[in-house]
Symmetry: C2
Amino acid sequence: MAVYTEVSDEDLRQFMAEYDLGEALSCKGIAEGIENSNYALTTTTGTYILTLYEKRVNPDDLPFFLGLMEHLAAAGVPCPTPIHGRDGEALRRLCGRPVAVVTFLAGMWPRRVASEHCADLGFALANLHLAGIDFVMTRANDLSLASWRPLLARSAACADEVKDGLAAELSAELAQLEADWPADLPSGVIHADLFPDNVLFHHGRLSGLIDFYFACTDAFAYDIAICINAWCFEADRSFNITKARRMLRAYREVRDFSEKELVALPLLARGSALRFLLTRLYDWLCTPDEALVTRKNPLEFYDKLRFHTSVAGPGDYGLD
Amino acid sequence: MAVYTEVSDEDLRQFMAEYDLGEALSCKGIAEGIENSNYALTTTTGTYILTLYEKRVNPDDLPFFLGLMEHLAAAGVPCPTPIHGRDGEALRRLCGRPVAVVTFLAGMWPRRVASEHCADLGFALANLHLAGIDFVMTRANDLSLASWRPLLARSAACADEVKDGLAAELSAELAQLEADWPADLPSGVIHADLFPDNVLFHHGRLSGLIDFYFACTDAFAYDIAICINAWCFEADRSFNITKARRMLRAYREVRDFSEKELVALPLLARGSALRFLLTRLYDWLCTPDEALVTRKNPLEFYDKLRFHTSVAGPGDYGLD
């Protein structure tokens, strides 16, 4: 949760004059998202989300993120749609920061994931991948394989404080991934951070995919691997094969895997577990205490990584 | 800002069935209030505020707070109105905590206070005092004079770390206040925490008084003294006599001061500055780093206290 920038009533009044959204009735900082400052903006025409982009987001990436949300929403993916100002621009400035207003989606993210959620997620993920195929912009995944070695180096000195021998163990794991990482998998737009808190459900059905600020161009199967890590483990970190099976089956009904993707899945799952382990390790060690962020325990992904290194093949994820 | 308790989608669904508010569309933790967990609850019938009362609020006080808001709202004071469940109860339980749903008020609190805000505030404060006269419940002010000595004792050991010699200086100030504190001033319901972030403005006019969780039965003039401290100093801690004059004049148009209240004002202002200095000092020293609360600098009120000890009489607050 985070609200880093305070928007004054005066700033907001001037800002709203740039839109055709009616008049602001209220603007409340909301405790969602760890990268940006988010506000529930209520106007005479409805409720919107106002996002101020803070320093962890590269301003050069914003046209990609906003263009992508607009493209996906137009293709029927339930995601926030950027609202354009009177001059046609969706990306503006407020309080010295880049800012956008997007549509508000009904629903809440599931605090307790059930296998039904995983099935809905599989459908939505495949639809997102297909809908992104004709999106013309691209963005490299700056948290993919090439970034992990420098990320590990930045946390290595402290990693052993989190768990004895962790730095060496992760370095060995990373060496294997670097040697075996699959190339030439089917690629396109991926969400790259589709955890339960980024997926809204309403009446028990998926009603929204949000937070596209890690979206990039990468292998579709890597996005699936992220979702396996994000959705198919229980609170005690045990793997739930039923959830994975339902997610993967639903995905394949919309977009089938190639044989190559199938074979790569265990390795991609290891890579994705390592990616979140490394960023959480870095955040855990480096987040200043005064930041209004709930740090997440990195060792959750250590246990997931160990599961993936133990699987015999893609069948262990519930695939036939 | 604070959201301490997470309300799950399942809990919320069950909870909403106890009300006639339509169906929940969204429930987002909002970054307001430091005592409780607040959510913007959007349903098919509108937007509401859902408040879970955390440990700093005594559950025995909740009937007073909710009853007061309902009484004041019925008397035309622009404040949140508690929503009753189907069974007639406004105070319920959710996630193991007492909880209430109240109406949502349009407006934003003024980040930069102008003298026009102070005039509106004076009117509203006097109207609140008058509207509370026929409210039958009472609640002692547990942060009044009698509490300051024990509060100082709890922070004294660390106070000198904040400022050299502070503990002794505050102890001497408190001894004076204890000796001279006025009795028998006109009393009734006071808000007791009417800082700018608890007052909403819309179209430049006061549209809401919120956060009644320090409200109690005490001298009206003490509430005025709190507002002088809360509204009439600039960011550099200099006193703005124009703001005080406008606030006090507007108040007197609705409810006139007695001579006794007038004479007591400088001492009450000292007491109120000390009260916020002491609680901020305690919070500053004792808030755990992981709490999602922005601690406020206690020394702001040290400077205000010094101003009030220097005034020659009530005329220094802009009164004729």
